[in-house]
Amino acid sequence: MSSALVRARGLSKVYGARGVKYEALRGLDLDVERGEFVGVMGPSGAGKTTLLNIIATIDRPSAGEILVAGTDLFSCPERELARFRRERLGFVFQDFNLLDTLTAYENVALPLALAGLPGDELDAKARAAAARLSISEIADKFPWELSGGQRQRVSAARAIAPGPALLLADEPTGNLDSRAAAGLLSSFSSLNVDEGTTILMVTHDALAASYCTRVVFILDGSVYAEVRSGGDRRAFFDSLMEALKAMEGGVR
């Protein structure tokens, strides 16, 4: 058995029935090792978000196998899946998905409350996550009182509060200005380095992807190429741009 935290083999996903069919994934293979910060890039419609949704267990593959921490999640009952999502996965979305009716602190603590954690433990974990993403100062503010960058940090703090094995981020910098994006990605980077959090991030942005340790390029539903970072972010960014250009050539 592989030590990979995520192991996907022969994943395919077909949307539509009879008539018009659309194949979002075509026999995709992917491993994500523990402690990796993996970026997923590719043109629109390449299958990036479909892959993320399947790993997140909110969508099912049409064929193929996916193991997360050695477990075939799709054989679990819905209740187990919900618990898995709650306890082992963290989600960061492009549009934040914060509840307007809750303060920043309450949003961070929400997955812990849903998991039924006792008060002291909930408070300690929520506060630690808030401190990790530097949002303690704004903990009592409501989402509409926050900037885009602050909201995304709250969203990230909520994702890491339960101590997930895998953090899934779908275009997390898509709605942020460059400064806020850099702040968030630095936070992701330090989470990955300092805490050993495994992160899988879908992005269009090469600059954002340059914070990763490895970037997988997807084209037409399967892995087209992958680039590993040598440790120098600028050099890695240049490699990513070259890979993107090569992929665009492939598309043409």
């Binding site: 898995f84 709650r86 307007d100 929400l110 409350a113």
Partner: protein, 642 residues
């Protein structure tokens, strides 16, 4: 695109919203037509029904329905227009001239309203005959005489006129929306984040204190002060109710979320968080529903009480089926002959008692002026014998010599009579020492009746022999259904001051039933209308939350937890107005009970129980619909994934 086509397309896309709006108009028009058809029916406007005040009662009821319909339509239109502001902004942004957009909204609101009104009148025409039959039956008009014609054109005309006016106002409101707001405000309407309503514990406490003061003023009212206090109490209660809905509910939600250990647990942050925001938007709805609910509960409670009160009076004051004075000694024989000739209602009890009419001088207390009036005296042993013969319950009176006991009717107060000194020829002065409830033979008391010890009674008879008469009581089986026998006995006993259930009680019960019928009907209509307002508002909000719940499911919230969050919100939106209207109604009915010296316990309990049951049923329907609206797709996914 013309304004009419704009309206048509928009209406077809928003069929759900508009079906709800049109259904609301239809319900109100239906009810209004029913009341108008009774009020304007030719049969109703003649004979017994006019005497019972039926046209007036239905005219008053139709005014209440029209006022309610106006308020309801205003709320309904305002709510739907709020959801349409962004659309109006979009049309304007794409270059549609404001008058065209405004006319489109006007045409749309008017078209849906007219469709609803037409449907309502059509249903009204279909059901009005049934409704009239029920009303006629209650007041005892033979079905054969009843409603004239299939369609009451006058009622159709009145309903159309009233609803045209109401819909005109609502449609003009829709028209003006485009002119009232700037384009940016219209366009940004959908993006407006929900804001936490301001909560003020001080104003919440002040509202609670104001309400308590209003309740206290109401509950300490007497017959003399109740009229002048009515408007004060109504004003205080109205202001305090608005204050409670506006300030207490948000303050309570804020207090709950302040306790993090309580708040951050399972479904609570989702439900309480949502409620804390939406209570602000629901204040006017809560307030209106609480007040409408109070009015209808008081109407039903009062109707029930009037009926119970009549029934209690009948039991107390009509122990026999027939009561009559003996004039020549043959009355009993003639009445018995009539009963035997009828054959369906055999005599089951008979009794007689001597009544002595005398002039009495009464001094209520020391220093008070004496008054003279005619009273009727009955001896205690004949009273007891008559009550025993009738089988009616009573407290056995034991007046000693020199004492008198008052036979109380419903409105008499013992406190005012106790200790009064009564001077009657033949006696050496009597003191009122107590009271009993229940007439010896029966009939509505025309004069005060006093019970005396046998010795005092005989002395009074000796001194006033001219005032003596014998009153007889006959009790027959199944006397509540003895209409024909009553007529036969009345024919047999001309001039004998005959009292019977049919002659004395039936008309009262008919008007009681009519009042109760109107009260219950208005109550049910108001309940259905207010219930539908809460239902549609809550389900639409739940539908707006669907994306939020899908996200919560994504991060691992179990469906059961999310269901609890949805149900908890539905529970509160029903509980708040219900609690307010139950509380107001209990105080209002208790006040009426106190003022009118009547026991309102049973009507209060029945009305509250009926409302709680109805609200529970509505809550179940709404929470189920809200769960489907908010979580329907999550369920489908869960099954697929499972």
């Amino acid at each position: 695109m013309t304004a009419v086509r704009l309206a048509a397309r928009s209406a077809s896309r928003r069929s759900g919203d508009y079906t709800a709006h049109a259904a609301a108009v239809a319900l109100n028009a239906f009810v209004y037509y029913l009341f108008a058809s009774v009020k304007l029916d030719p049969v109703v406007n003649e004979g017994v029904m006019t005497k019972l005040g039926m046209p007036k009662a239905f005219a008053a009821a139709s005014v209440i329905v029209a006022v309610f319909a106006g308020v309801f339509l205003w709320f309904s239109s305002a709510y739907f227009m709020k959801r349409r502001k962004r659309e109006a902004g979009l049309y304007a942004l794409f270059g549609a001239p404001r008058p065209a957009v405004a006319f489109g909204l006007f045409a749309e609101t008017a078209a849906m309203g007219l469709a609803g009104a037409f449907l309502g009148v059509a249903c009204g025409v279909l059901f009005s005959r049934l409704f009239l039959m029920a009303a006629f039956r209650l007041v005892g008009v033979a079905a054969a005489a009843g409603p004239s014609g299939f369609v009451n054109l006058a009622a159709v005309g009145e309903t159309v006129a009233v609803f045209a006016a109401l819909l005109g106002i609502a449609s003009v409101g829709a028209f003006l929306v485009v002119y009232r707001y700037r384009l940016s405000e219209l366009f940004g309407a959908a993006r407006e984040a929900e804001r936490m309503p301001r909560s003020s514990p001080v104003l919440a406490a002040a509202s609670a204190a104001l309400l308590a003061a209003g309740y206290w003023i109401a509950l300490t009212s007497t017959m003399r002060t109740v009229g002048s206090r009515f408007f004060l109490v109504s004003a205080i209660t109205t202001v305090a109710t608005y204050g409670l809905a506006r300030f207490l509910a948000p303050a309570a939600a804020r207090a709950l979320r302040a306790d993090r250990r309580f708040f951050m647990r399972s479904w609570r942050p989702i439900a309480i968080g949502n409620l804390a925001f939406r209570i602000g938007n629901n204040v006017r709805v809560f307030f209106a529903i609480a007040m409408v609910g109070t009015v209808s509960m008081v109407a039903i409670g009062t109707g029930l009480n009037v009926k119970y009160d009549t029934l209690r009076r009948v039991e107390s004051e009509f122990p026999f089926s027939f009561a009559f004075d003996e004039l020549d000694g043959t009355e009993l024989a003639r009445a018995t002959a009539a009963v035997e000739a009828d054959g369906r209602h055999p005599v089951i009890a008979s009794a007689s008692a001597r009544y002595l009419s005398v002039e009495a001088t009464i001094a209520a207390g020391k220093g008070e002026a004496e008054t003279s009036s005619t009273v009727e005296l009955v001896s205690v042993s004949e009273y007891v014998a008559a009550r025993l013969a009738s089988g009616s319950s009573f407290d056995r009176p034991e007046p000693r010599e020199g004492e008198a006991m008052v036979v109380l009717t419903r409105t008499d107060r013992l406190a005012e009579a106790m200790g009064a000194r009564v001077s009657i020829a033949g006696t050496s002065g009597l003191v009122v020492a107590g009271a009993v409830r229940g007439s010896p033979i029966g009939g509505w008391a025309e004069r005060a009746v006093l019970l005396l010890s046998d010795a005092d009674f005989e002395r009074a008879v000796e001194a006033n022999p001219g005032g003596l008469k014998v009153r007889r009581g006959l009790k027959v089986a199944d006397d509540r259904n003895a209409r024909e026998l009553s007529a036969a006995v009345a024919d047999a006993l001309p001039g004998a001051r005959l009292s019977s259930f049919e002659a004395d009680v039936r008309p009262l019960l008919r008007s009681d039933d009519l009042f109760l019928f109107i009260g219950v009907f208005i109550g049910v209509v108001f309940l259905a209308s207010t219930g539908s307002v809460i239902h549609f508002k809550h389900v639409m909000e739940a539908s707006d939350d669907a994306a939020r719940f899908r996200f919560l499911s994504t991060i691992g919230a179990e469906r059961a937890v999310l269901e609890k969050a949805v149900r908890a919100q539905a529970f509160v939106v029903y509980l708040v107005p219900l609690a307010l209207c139950v509380s107001h109604s209990v105080v209002a009915l208790s006040t009426m009970g106190r003022v009118f010296q009547s026991d309102f316990t049973r009507p209060i309990a029945l009305t509250v129980a009926a409302y709680c049951a109805a609200y529970s049923a509505l809550f179940l329907i709404t929470s189920r619909a809200a769960v489907n609206a908010a979580l329907g797709r999550i369920a489908a996914k869960a099954e697929a994934a499972g």
